[in-house]
Symmetry: C2
Subunit: 403 residues, 2 copies
């Protein structure tokens, strides 16, 4: 067989490089492909022929790559669209010029759609080029797998910060609310996972249309009951008409606040303006949640890496294309969590959003059910296993990032 290309796309995660490391290492263990070429900045770089030879990355660097956050090859938001014939022609030409038979694409929904579209086009045009997807997303919203690499680490960091800031908040006697914001535009998995620490009083998810007055009543109730209210909100929380909560407090009459910022800032201001609490604290996890290598979940690193290995092994089969690898939840003999690996059609990964299940949401913003907690618990378990540098920071390596 010839060479292969591997590239990354979409928002980085704390373990997206572990999947890259898995592809590189698998080819060292069994050189199915002559060379492993890294496409710089996703499909954009591949189209421009920007490739970097990763075949012989030494084992010591591969270990550091596994704990390097962000996308070591760079990322892009460029979406390859069906019908943009010249992109497809060009991409296959770049693969030809580099003697590449297979392209591995590590990404979210959009990237899996790219895998599907490229496979479809190749098939329709008699090309033997093949395309294989490796999933990642802190949003955890791909349908077929139990969960996606990147999510467990983001959930772990979110839980650590939730617990630490809850203790910080509880040290005070003054009446105020605390509002933590997490990523999650369409699905509330990450926000919901914060409930695992047992510190969340109210949870606002994109899966439940936001009802301002009802929400404020719940905040008032918590403040009355215990003098505090710790709220977690997903960035994608929205009103029934689809308007994001972060767009501002539209129901706020009279004194109009132009709020530039996130959902947490808006909720805090809404609560203060309504007189429910005289002040509030805002903590937006923002990018820190998805890039915090110092809080990598053990299972997440292992699974992201093994999905890279699995994709490479599957790709030895010359008929394997338009497929994505993933993890299903199984049980070990003692009932403990066990990852089971599978591969499925890219189209099933691409075109759906897996929302946080309605039956796991407790009403009146009261958090999640025990079933949800049981789902989250094994994903964040275990101690981080990080190699530190003499500077006291986790070691990282980004030799291929060409910004």
């Amino acid at each position: 067989m010839g060479n292969c290309i591997v590239a990354q796309s979409g928002g980085p995660t704390a373990v997206i490089n572990a999947s890259l490391a898995g592809v590189i290492r698998a080819n060292q263990l069994n050189p199915t492909f002559g060379r492993v070429l890294g496409g710089i900045h996703g499909i954009e770089g591949v189209l421009a022929g920007k490739l970097y030879d990763l075949t012989d990355v030494p084992g010591s660097e591969i270990e550091i790559l596994k704990q390097t956050p962000s996308s070591a090859l760079g990322t892009c938001r460029y979406k390859l669209r069906r019908g943009q014939e010249e992109d497809f022609v060009k991409l296959v030409r770049v693969m030809d010029e580099n003697d590449a038979d297979v392209m591995f694409y590590i990404g979210g929904n959009d990237s899996m759609d790219t895998v599907d579209a490229l496979s479809e086009w190749a098939c329709a045009h008699g090309s033997d080029k093949r395309f294989v997807g490796i999933p990642k997303t802190v949003d955890n919203d791909l349908v077929p797998p139990d969960h996606c690499p990147g999510f467990p680490s983001a959930a772990k960091l979110a839980n650590m910060v939730t617990h630490a800031t809850r203790l910080d908040y509880d040290a005070y006697t003054r009446p105020e609310v605390f509002v933590l914001e997490t990523m999650g535009r369409d699905a509330g998995w990450l926000a919901a996972s914060c409930c695992l620490s047992g510190d969340v009083d109210l949870l606002v998810l994109p899966e439940v249309d936001f009802d301002r007055d009802w929400f404020l009543q719940q905040v008032q109730r918590k403040m009355d009951e215990k003098g505090s209210c710790y709220i977690v909100v997903s960035e994608g929380a929205h009103y029934e008409d689809g308007t994001y909560v972060s767009a501002g407090d539209s129901a706020n009459d009279g004194f109009a606040h132009a709020v530039l910022g996130g959902a947490a800032l808006t909720l805090k201001q809404m609560i203060v303006d309504a007189g429910v609490a005289p002040r509030g604290i805002v903590q937006d996890l923002s990018r820190a949640a998805r890039s915090s290598n110092f809080a990598q979940a053990r299972i997440d690193v292992a699974e992201a890496y093994e999905l890279g290995v699995s994709a490479h092994m599957h790709a030895a089969d010359p008929d394997f294309t338009a497929q994505v690898v993933g993890v299903k939840r199984g049980s070990a003999a003692d009932g403990s969590y066990n990852a089971e690996y599978f591969a499925g059609p890219a189209s099933e990964f691409a075109n759906f959003v897996k929302n946080f299940p309605a039956e796991w949401i407790r009403k009146d913003y009261q958090g999640v059910t025990d079933e949800a907690l049981a789902y989250f618990a094994p994903l964040v378990a275990g101690e981080p296993d990080i190699i530190y540098g003499t500077d006291g920071l986790p070691k990282t390596i980004v030799p291929y990032n060409l910004r």
Copy 2:
């Protein structure tokens, strides 16, 4: 001797409980005091007679207390003012009622002033009650010591997030700025420490009056040079007239944005409005920086604990009052960092703010000098040494927090 009281005040840190643990443990090693009584919610709780017996906290719990963030005894913002005679009388009465000879107060500038005022009052009124301070502050702005417990851990977390989010930011090709905000109302130590990771392009400190146009020129230069600009700003950054940057972009003519939020959000909007970059990302460390037990700096835990022990040992001397313990920087035989412990008058800790040194600030917002980096480096060195629970989160214990 009789009993002692220990209480915590001001903003919590990641290691303020390590100092509390030091006091408790020292009394177990050498029972100078009959009982160690924890004052709940600082001076407020002590005045109300809310005390909790900590004398016999078992060693295993003391270990967990050392890694528990926030103030385990609760905190307060109540400032005891000279002249408020009834507070002084009441406090000494509470100490009498509980047979307490000494009160240890763990806190920042204001708390050290409380130590000073109480000692002064006791001396003037023929009382033999004594008051001893143990410093803490993530702002690092107390004058006599080399640094303050709480700061190294906050700096370590800030550096970890800076490096991780820088890599995340660099993965993209699109033109945008990144703005990270840290705590630091009067002094820029924490923001400056972010430069240690080598990832910061521009640094905005409270120590340099903010010049909007000149700053925007520097951003433009970075964007022109390398297509990216990673900015760190201290929450206390302000214009020459004292107006906080976070108060909004006052120089912004025409289209008025009412910005509710922090300095980072304001800078981002200022840059976008000025057309210097089409978009920007904001990351506010907010409370996470000071409460992140999972990023405790090794030196910080050790020093915070030993300052608690040191304060207790000093207090065996019946003349020891109106004093605060602290750390000076010494050198081991091989030139490496070595903490030297000292005690000094509370008045020297109370009434000054130690700014980040002007000679360590590079002009044009270009970060800090090598001397500054050499100051920061040993404080964040070493791997975290954390005891994790089966849930995958650092173990914590807060049996005395009565919110």
